[in-house]
């Protein structure tokens, strides 16, 4: 068992409260992604699990053991940093094996475990290189190797892909997901990128201002966001929101509709608007439409759509795809 439990955890810096009282359970073996905008407290949460940040109040348990005041190295965790944090003067092998060496493991055992980790991450041929001789992706793998080799109960990832280019990021997403399947350990992953959250997580925790907005399976958050914040944060392009009279007409003080759940037509529809701009991406088209009394709405349509700027168009929401919010809470089923 290596679940992670926050019980009434608070974190403040002087008078500034970063995390108001928070309770959260990260299930054993899950791939949990903490997601939210900058300053929402997601990295602080991760660092509190790691022991790099003291908690102001409350307890943290890992696998049922209270680790609130334990040293980072005694918590059974390993962490991959955004900057990789590789020791620049050590070889790849030494970087991966450093923690094992300090723990007093015999040299041949260290070498064996380093070799095993290197094989998993295809680093076999790079073991004698220094970090500066590696590409960004290879450095990332070394950082992951350093985590794997310690056989931790919980892996912590702090925005590990944000320094990589888009193609490499996509590749590493797949590799990390595969790694999770292979190892089966609990993984906690922090990101501000909702695409990473949706593609990798089996559970997403959306944070805002140090509070949990919603926690659940990615598709649950996508289908039934509990708050307007989650609705706006999960999904790309961002959900369209209707306010005022337009929302009231649909039964809420705020109504959301995802761009991919809007149909665009030149003939008829619920809302009439004028096409401001269209982005043709080949596989899909993004149309930006100015709707009178509603504002700008984005429509995502599969394939090519032949629309011209300034053209009069009609938009209709698909059946059952409206997200109705009242007083900041979801009221539609």
């Amino acid at each position: 068992m290596a679940d992670v439990r926050f019980s009434s955890v608070r974190k403040g810096y002087g008078a500034v409260e970063v995390i108001p009282e928070l309770d959260l359970t990260i299930e054993d073996g899950s791939f949990t992604v903490l997601v939210g905008p900058s300053g929402c407290g997601k990295s602080t949460l991760l660092r509190m699990i790691a022991g790099l940040e003291e908690v102001t109040a409350g307890t943290i348990t890992i696998g049922g053991e209270d680790v609130t005041h334990r040293d980072p190295s005694e918590r059974g965790i390993a962490m991959v940093f955004q900057s990789y944090a590789l020791y620049p003067h050590m070889t790849v092998a030494d970087n991966i094996g450093f923690g094992l060496k300090l723990s007093g493991l015999p040299k041949d055992e260290v070498a064996k475990r380093v070799a095993d980790a290197a094989a998993i991450l295809q680093l076999d041929k790079l073991l004698e290189r220094k970090p500066r001789q590696l590409s960004g992706g290879q450095r990332q793998r070394v950082a992951i190797g350093r985590a794997i080799v310690r056989k931790p109960k919980v892996f912590l990832f702090d925005e590990p892909l944000s320094n990589l280019d888009a193609a490499l990021r996509a590749q590493m997403r797949v590799e990390l997901a595969e790694l999770h399947t292979r190892i089966g350990a609990t993984m906690v992953y922090v990101t501000h990128d909702q695409v990473e959250a949706m593609t990798m997580a089996d559970r997403i925790v959306v944070l805002n201002g140090g509070r949990i907005e919603q926690a659940g399976a990615p598709m649950d958050l996508y289908r039934a966001p509990a708050t307007p914040f989650v609705a706006g944060f999960i999904g790309s392009p961002r959900m369209n929101f209707l306010e005022g009279q337009a929302a009231k007409a649909l039964g809420g003080d705020l109504v959301g509709i995802r761009p991919e759940h809007l149909d665009i037509s030149a003939a008829s529809g619920l809302w009439q608007g004028r096409l401001r701009h269209a982005e043709h991406l080949g596989s899909e088209t993004l149309s930006y439409v100015d709707v009178e009394g509603v504002g700008s709405m984005t429509v995502k349509t599969e394939g090519e759509v032949s629309v011209a700027p300034n053209q009069l168009v009609y938009l209709s929401p698909r059946e059952g795809q409206l997200h109705v919010f009242n007083a900041g809470k979801r009221t539609s089923i």
Binding site: L52, S73, M79, S83, Y87, L102, R146
Partner: protein
């Protein structure tokens, strides 16, 4: 005129003042020193014209036991002061880099010696070293009993060590500030990764701080060594090279020969030798200690 050549002319024009000063103040005097070193040039012109005497100055220099003693004293001073000074600089930098209360106050106090001219510092230490009742001797008497004292700078066995301590104190803030900059340049992530790896504070120093200061150490080792080899002011004010030549350094020797005995040709030979020796030492240090990224 093409744009490129115009901008090149501008660059040259801007470099010119510095080049003129460099030539006038360094290149010409040094070239003259080389020339003088092969002559019997005196400080005050004599009726007899200056003669070229070949390597005579150099041969005489190598024959003079005081010259070799000066070399040995200079090397001894460098061997003692460089590690001592770098150690206290690093220690002070580590303390000031830690999250201690009133850090900025301590930082301001620590750089005070840097603001004082060396002559003033030597005057302060002359008071500290005073016999029989200077502050250092007062402290000594606590342990050794009243009536006992050490002639810190008058005794050949303590004179050099006293000069070493004084010199290290006088200039350590410079090295400390560079160490401080070096320490602040080490990413915090590395310390956190080391903590996760189970490194204790000594191990974090050994495996993160020390390697992270490699380039700073190389730089400081070279400039501190060169600075140590140039030791003069302290010795000239406090001991004049005594007692019995125990603190005669190569520059002190050069000064005595050039000014006191007015043998400019001979002193120039010492200067040329000193220049070559310092260059060789700096090059050797550079060769054996490569910067991170060059290895």
């Amino acid at each position: 005129m093409s744009i490129k050549s115009r901008s090149q002319r501008q660059e040259l024009a801007m470099l010119l003042p510095a080049v003129i000063f460099l030539i006038a103040l360094i290149v010409v005097p040094f070239a003259l020193s080389i020339w003088f070193s092969f002559t019997d040039q005196r400080l005050v012109p004599r009726p007899i014209p200056t003669k070229v005497i070949g390597f005579t100055n150099y041969l005489r220099m190598f024959d003079d036991p005081l010259f070799w003693q000066a070399i040995w004293n200079t090397v001894l001073f460098a061997l003692l002061v460089v590690p001592f000074q770098l150690a206290i600089s690093l220690g002070a930098a580590l303390i000031l880099n830690a999250a201690i209360p009133f850090r900025s106050v301590f930082r301001a106090i620590a750089i005070l010696p840097l603001l004082l001219p060396m002559t003033v510092i030597v005057a302060i230490w002359a008071v500290l070293f005073r016999i029989p009742n200077g502050p250092l001797n007062a402290a000594y008497q606590w342990f050794a009993g009243s009536g006992n004292y050490v002639d810190w700078i008058g005794n050949p066995s303590t004179a050099m060590v006293s000069i070493v301590v004084l010199s290290a104190w006088a200039t350590f803030p410079y090295q400390m500030l560079i160490y401080l900059a070096g320490l602040q340049d080490i990413p915090q992530d590395l310390y956190e990764a080391a903590k996760l790896d189970g490194a204790k504070s000594w191990q974090r120093f050994r495996y993160v701080t020390w390697p992270g200061l490699r380039n700073v150490n190389i730089f400081l080792l070279i400039i501190t060594t060169i600075g140590a080899l140039k030791l003069f002011t302290q010795v000239n004010i406090l001991t004049k090279g005594g007692p019995n030549g125990a603190t005669t350094t190569i520059i002190q020797y050069l000064f005595q020969q050039g000014y006191a005995t007015q043998k400019v040709g001979y002193a120039s030979a010492v200067a040329v030798f000193f220049f070559l020796a310092v260059t060789a030492i700096a090059l050797l240090q550079r060769r054996f200690l490569k910067n991170e990224g060059e290895a």
